[in-house]
């Protein structure tokens, strides 16, 4: 599978490699007692909605279930509004589709030191036995909300765009002692190559 190590120049000294991820984000929020309907609909569109706390990947799309009855659908950037309108019309009856592409900024982390670095801000237990590949969780780090996902191809972090710079500064400062390498952008496709869960 193609992780950032292959998409970017591999750096043997790098404890942690960080790359921005250009992505469209739509949040699907199931209407009251319409969750099953939404799941069926999504399945028909070839997009299985994962259980809470898990990531699903299909058709170069990632789906994160970090909040109950809500899913973040990550796909490659399209012209403004396109991703939304397709969902809006489709699921009007059973869910709200909300555009969050501008609200969230995505970072991809990889390398042997990722856990060490995250442990300096993240209160969750990220031990391989406790937070296995395919896990996702909403929490907070460096005083800002974070949706943290672990993929076979590394870690995916979503943070609010208004504090993205603050978070990036915190990450850089924290990761530097471990060998921090800033890499070129990765694509959703490269992360969703392998289905999890």
């Amino acid at each position: 599978m193609s992780g950032p190590e292959s998409t970017t120049a591999p750096d043997t000294r790098a404890g942690i490699t960080c790359a921005p991820l250009a992505v469209d984000v739509i949040e699907l929020a199931a209407r009251r007692e319409r969750t099953q309907v939404l799941k069926a609909l999504a399945a028909r569109r070839g997009l299985p909605l994962p259980a809470l706390g898990w990531v699903a990947a299909a058709r170069s799309t990632l789906v994160l279930a970090a909040r109950p009855e809500r899913w973040l659908v990550l796909s490659a950037p399209a012209p403004p509004g396109v991703a939304l309108s397709s969902w809006r019309s489709a699921c009007a009856a059973c869910a709200a589709a909300i555009e969050l592409s501008s609200a969230l900024s995505a970072l991809h982390l990889a390398g042997p030191a990722v856990r060490d670095v995250l442990a300096r801000g993240c209160r969750l237990d990220l031990h391989p036995a406790a937070f296995v590949p395919g896990s996702t969780a909403a929490t907070s780090m460096a005083q800002v909300p974070v949706v943290l996902s672990m993929l076979p191809a590394g870690w995916l972090l979503l943070t609010p765009s208004s504090t993205a710079r603050h978070f990036r500064e915190w990450l850089t400062a924290t990761a530097t002692p471990f060998g921090f390498v800033s890499a070129a952008g990765v694509t959703v496709a490269s992360l969703s190559g392998e289905s999890t869960q």
Binding site: G53, R67, A137, A138
Partner: protein, 92 residues
């Protein structure tokens, strides 16, 4: 430091939650009158004992939880989604 077992997110530090106070006080009906609303808004049992309280998991699922916690030992006896808690309340 509290560690609250969120039914949706698992055990999380207290810093992820926003406290919303006594969960035994339920909003009276519109016609209940000033005394009923005064009691609802202002009067508290404030026990040194088991305490039923609201916590909003703002950094996680953003769900409202009813936590039953001892105010002296801080031991947590139960945590449930607000909806379930209120349903049970009404059943009683």
């Amino acid at each position: 430091m509290l560690r609250i077992p969120c039914p949706w997110c698992g055990v999380r530090d207290e810093s992820e939650f926003r406290y919303r106070g006594d969960a035994t006080r339920l909003r009276p009906s519109a016609e209940a009158g000033i005394d009923a609303f005064t009691a609802y808004v202002y009067q508290r049992d404030n026990p040194c004992d088991w305490h039923s309280e609201w916590w909003l998991h703002v950094a996680g699922c953003r769900r409202l939880l009813r936590v039953v916690r001892h105010t002296l030992t801080h031991e947590i006896r139960s945590v449930e989604p607000a909806a379930d808690a209120l349903a049970a309340e009404r059943a009683r």
